[in-house]
Symmetry: D2
Subunit: 98 residues, 4 copies
């Protein structure tokens, strides 16, 4: 059986949000092409960054509630669960520092 991840139930929502973000990135390219004011472009970049972080936080919550939870449930000695927690913590550190 293929693994099913936490986000699978919301694939359509994520697809839609990422299409919107893709359109926003294209919009920033268009602003630069049309010589728009730098500060207005920066405002758009901040908006896209926040939208991406929001996608990441959603994926992460579902990852903790499904994949990490499953590792904890199936794990007899705790080693596998500890590795999953460490992996999630590393991903969180990358998000916090990016």
């Amino acid at each position: 059986m293929a693994a099913t991840y936490g986000y699978v139930a919301h694939k359509d929502t994520y697809a839609k949000r990422l299409r919107k973000i893709e359109g926003q990135v294209r919009g920033i390219a268009k602003m630069i092409d049309e010589d728009k004011y730098c500060i207005d472009i920066l405002t758009q970049v901040s908006a896209v960054t926040r939208a991406l972080q929001s996608v990441a936080l959603g994926l992460l919550e579902e990852h903790l509630g499904h994949c990490v939870a499953q590792a904890m449930a199936e794990d007899s000695d705790g080693d596998h669960a500890a590795a999953k927690v460490r992996e999630a913590a590393d991903a969180i550190a990358r998000l916090v520092r990016s």
Copy 2:
């Protein structure tokens, strides 16, 4: 005369970087569509966020060196320059907090 902003000299570079970012966002959507592992998707989201921030930091440096510098040079009483510095500081705050 139309205003020319600091980034204009590098429009092609920014266009190229944003096309790459657009492709990366499409890549994240594809990873979700193909049920890739959550942590690998999060790693990609962090990479795109960093790429976007790098674009923002480049635009900002050129904005400070051109638009803000020009406001300071043309400004007799300092009010316009102060407004430009405040506007840039607000944009920096949005970047730091996003």
Copy 3:
């Protein structure tokens, strides 16, 4: 029995790291009092911010591995575990956005 949290085993380490951060904050105040160069002060502020985030990431990893894991283990219907995951996700969101 009082609850014991994940970080309890490392209380001394955290106490030491926070005393160091406290000293760094005092150092920034001293730099301002002594009219040090703005950019050097900003470099110190970035260093303290990173040190604080590192403490937060450590606490968070231990929280996931202990408190959230315990909620998952003890939870028959999953409601309590889901609430713990949501609470952790909210804390992560605050870290990412701060």
Copy 4:
């Protein structure tokens, strides 16, 4: 004559804000010593991080309005001003990435 930086006019305000931040860091250490709940400690860490960033953004705005502006005004060939803008942009990048 000694250089006077942009923040000098508000030294007392910064001293006060940093003393408050120092107290908040001590408060976090106390929460850990008293076995407070991890999530509540994380909320405090996020609050201190935001307070530090706010100090940094204030220092930066004053740096742009004074030190960078002065470099631009005094600079005949633009080299010194460009170096100051680059230095400020590097400091902004450290803040955004921390």
